[in-house]
Symmetry: C2
Subunit: 225 residues, 2 copies
């Protein structure tokens, strides 16, 4: 199948291809193809030499490993617009570390890893641009993780406090142990626990006296974000 | 200040330096220095040419931008063992996009971006290895985000259900609207909402009849993860 303009446009936005010149991009496309696979079909298997990488146009692919007891450990669900198996091509002995199987009918671009590497090796500007793209993405993801972690910590604290209030049937919650130990029980950092409690205090949801928390507004606590 | 073996060992573990040969690493170190800055001191300012990048040995650095109204927007807190400002060196016109200021006394490695780029340009194996390292890290972070997002969704659903139970003063919660709308109100994907509800049903926490949820175990719901 030949790529259509809409496919090309989709690819061009992806960080792996964004920095290519028209000419380099054509050379890459010359060695690529579009394939369709059925639901349940295996695209590649764990330990097989990794000479290709992929861009999922449509459908869904699961990447999994077989554990020693023979069960599947799903590591990733790939969705439309995502690339996969590209990290492995930069390594010295590329073998697929996972098996890829379609969980919905899928349409994919298949790229030749060797050709991609050649283009990058020939053109150090391209390789630097790609490093820049990936570095920025990595940095954004790390920030996203920090935000999500703080949200998660907030949720945990709210649920813990609601649970304590129900157990004690009171608006006064005595932590009964150092904040550090409560934090550890909730699997969050002590500083994060203190930060969340401080935010709640500032929002007028509770008063804090040492280990005793006086909840002022139960509904606001439940809706606190 | 000259780097001590303990500093070198720390650096060598970092993905930016892991793949360097001894010789290349020495050439990089020749152009680097260790500096100390005081709490409150500015390391570099937004829009200044970015000819250096950094590795924080000890202390804490905040990276921020000034908003049009003159207030600070903190984008990142850098902690010991982290590099920063390295993504920008791969871009065409490198200017620092942020200001970096110490929020604790800090000790840092300062690297010459030009030298780093030269080493990578001379040695395509190095640049590919670095691309591999960063790609793998990016992939891991994306997986981490997925896990955190699912946890977050679970927390949101629990808090929503507890809130509904309190409001209705009942163990029966009628969603009163399509699941898709509830999901949207909780800022999660409809499939994720259904997945969380299904997990709760399987754990014996509730029975589901269309839009009506019959909560069987309030405590288990509060402790559900």
């Amino acid at each position: 199948m030949r790529p259509m303009p809409v496919h090309i446009a989709l690819l061009r936005q992806h960080h792996l291809f964004k920095e290519f010149s028209e000419q380099d991009f054509s050379r890459l496309l010359d060695k690529s193809e579009i394939i369709s696979i059925e639901k349940g079909e295996t695209l590649f298997s764990q330990s097989q030499p990794a000479d290709k990488f992929f861009f999922l146009i449509d459908g869904a692919i699961k990447l999994f490993r077989l554990t020693p007891d023979g069960s599947e450990k799903v590591l990733e669900l790939v969705r439309s617009g995502q690339s996969f198996a590209e990290a492995v091509m930069f390594l010295k002995q590329p073998n697929f570390p996972v098996t890829a199987q379609a969980i919905e009918p899928a349409q994919l671009f298949v790229f030749d890893s060797q050709r991609y590497i050649e283009l990058i090796e020939e053109n150090s500007r391209l390789s630097l641009a790609l490093l820049g793209q990936i570095s920025i993405r990595l940095r954004k993801r790390i920030q996203e993780i920090e935000t999500l972690s703080l949200n998660n910590a907030t949720h945990r604290v709210v649920r813990f406090l609601i649970g304590q209030m129900e157990e004690l049937d009171s608006m006064r919650v005595d932590l009964g142990m150092p904040k550090k130990m409560v934090a550890s029980r909730l699997s969050i950092q002590p500083e994060t626990f203190s930060r969340v409690i401080r935010k709640m205090e500032q929002a007028g949801i509770m008063e804090v006296n040492g280990r005793e928390l006086n909840i002022l507004d139960r509904t606001a606590l439940l809706n606190f974000d």
